[in-house]
């Protein structure tokens, strides 16, 4: 492989990794930081219970708040619509968490019982997600890897200079790409505890 080709390839790889990273970051921002249902949001449910007393209206009141907040999980919106407007929500769009807690037809079931089940399920989910996050281990692995890798690469490249020098631009771009991916992994962990 000629050195010119390696240089062009490494630049192309850096460009590709950068574009990929920016797209992943936008996706992460859109999903995890803003719209994706975060388990801590379910803590809002008991708060609304206390505020409005009436359990059905607590969901409905939540959906009437500022839309710009975009904080409500899609399932909660659907449940509120179903409770307030009747049976106009398609069953196909009404899935995930609520099916697991026995809310296949909330208008028929006892609302109190349904809400208790929902809350219990949400809390279970919350505990599972929050306490298995393991941020410390991920940070340790990521940071140590990023910092130590160049030393190992340099030492091993010195032993095979002829081959290594041609490949060094590509190794640099790969190192850059791996560092970016590691950042995404750590940020995803951070996103789990943010609402």
């Amino acid at each position: 492989m000629s050195s010119e080709f390696a240089v062009i390839l490494s630049s192309a790889l850096i460009a590709m990794f950068s574009v990929l990273f920016v797209r992943q970051l936008r996706e992460l921002e859109k999903r995890s930081f803003v719209t994706e249902p975060n388990p801590l949001l379910f803590k809002l449910i008991p708060m609304m219970h206390h505020t409005y007393r009436n359990r059905v209206s607590s969901f409905i009141a939540l959906t009437r708040l500022d839309n710009a907040c975009r904080v409500l999980p899609q399932q909660l919106r659907l449940l509120a619509r179903k409770l307030s407007l009747g049976r106009d929500v398609e069953p196909a769009t009404f899935n995930l968490l609520f099916l697991n807690v026995g809310l296949s037809d909330p208008l028929v079931q006892d609302e109190w019982k349904a809400n208790d089940l929902l809350f219990r399920e949400a809390m279970k989910d919350l505990r599972k997600k929050l306490f298995t996050t393991n941020v410390r281990n991920i940070i340790t692995l990521a940071l140590t890897g990023i910092i130590i890798a160049p030393v190992i690469v340099t030492i091993s490249a010195l032993f095979h200079q002829k081959e290594a020098i041609e490949l060094l631009p590509i190794v640099t771009s790969l190192f850059y790409g791996i560092a970016l991916q590691v950042i995404i992994v750590v940020l995803k962990r951070y996103a789990l505890i943010l609402v």
């Binding site: 050195s3 708060m47 160049p150 060094l168």
Partner: protein, 269 residues
């Protein structure tokens, strides 16, 4: 504009290192320059997004603190104030605005009071009052939209808000403490890594001087590769630790690397 200012020096350092590295690899000036400029644009994109995310996450932490402060103060005032409006007034009368979160909370409560009493939006609402966390935003919107709330429900609402904000604040605090503890450890590791790289390159230079001339150019390639690696790991370590990539850290690592190479004994090996 702030993001551009913060990203620019880092991009310049990265590009100059990359250019140096490519030039030592190919010795084709125009190709190296063209590739470096193209890479500069993409690295700028990455840095800008990273700095935006760091700003967003740090704003979230301040927002949790704002909610926590508000909920704690409201809970304390519940004994004396029994309706939402007077509770907000009491919270607004917090004497010292020492921290950023406290100032922000006061501004938000003032805005809410304006809306509730005067039925008007506050004119001097600055961008510093803008909430970043959707949950904090939702909690304050909820309070803003509540026209009437009885005493029992108000107590329940404030207690729930306090519980909620406590767990959020605790999570954010734990994460910040964890990062602060790890920071020193990784700073030492960064310096050690720069020293090792410097030592390896110095040894290689020493061997190169006693052998063929081709090895000297190889040593230059390895030195520029090491400089580029130091830039990458210093910048990305800062981002993982939710700090703006610091030029001071970068300068320290570069200085140690260069000092180890230039340090006597020159006739070593």
């Amino acid at each position: 504009m702030t993001f551009i200012n913060k990203a620019l020096p880092l991009v310049l350092i990265f590009t100059s290192n990359f250019f140096l590295f490519l030039l030592s690899t190919t010795s084709n000036f125009f190709l190296s320059l063209f590739c470096s400029l193209a890479v500069a644009f993409f690295v700028y994109m990455v840095m800008k997004s990273c700095i935006e995310v760091i700003a967003e996450l740090n704003n979230r932490f301040v927002d949790y603190e704002v909610l926590h402060l508000f909920a704690t103060k409201s809970f304390k005032s519940l004994a004396s104030r029994r309706n939402l409006l007077s509770l907000l007034e009491e919270v607004y009368k917090v004497p010292n605005a020492r921290s950023e979160a406290q100032l922000k909370m006061k501004r938000i409560v003032r805005g809410m009071l304006c809306k509730k009493i005067l039925k008007a939006e506050e004119r001097n609402l600055s961008s510093a009052t803008k909430l970043s966390s959707p949950l904090t935003k939702l909690a304050f919107t909820l309070l803003e939209k509540l026209d009437f709330i009885d005493e029992v429900s108000l107590r329940a609402l404030v207690t729930s808000l306090r519980d909620l904000s406590f767990s959020l604040h605790l999570n954010a605090k734990k994460l910040r403490e964890l990062i602060a503890v790890e920071k020193l450890k990784y700073k030492v590791l960064q310096i050690a890594s720069s020293m090792t790289l410097g030592f390896v390159i110095k040894t290689f230079f020493a061997f190169a001087r006693f052998s063929s001339t081709n090895l000297v150019s190889n040593a230059l390639i390895f030195a520029s590769f090491a400089l580029l690696s130091i830039t990458i790991f210093t910048v990305f370590t800062c981002i993982i630790q939710l700090r703006y990539p610091s030029l001071k850290d970068l300068a320290l690592c570069f200085a140690i690397f260069i000092i180890v190479i230039l340090m006597p004994p020159y006739e070593w090996a």
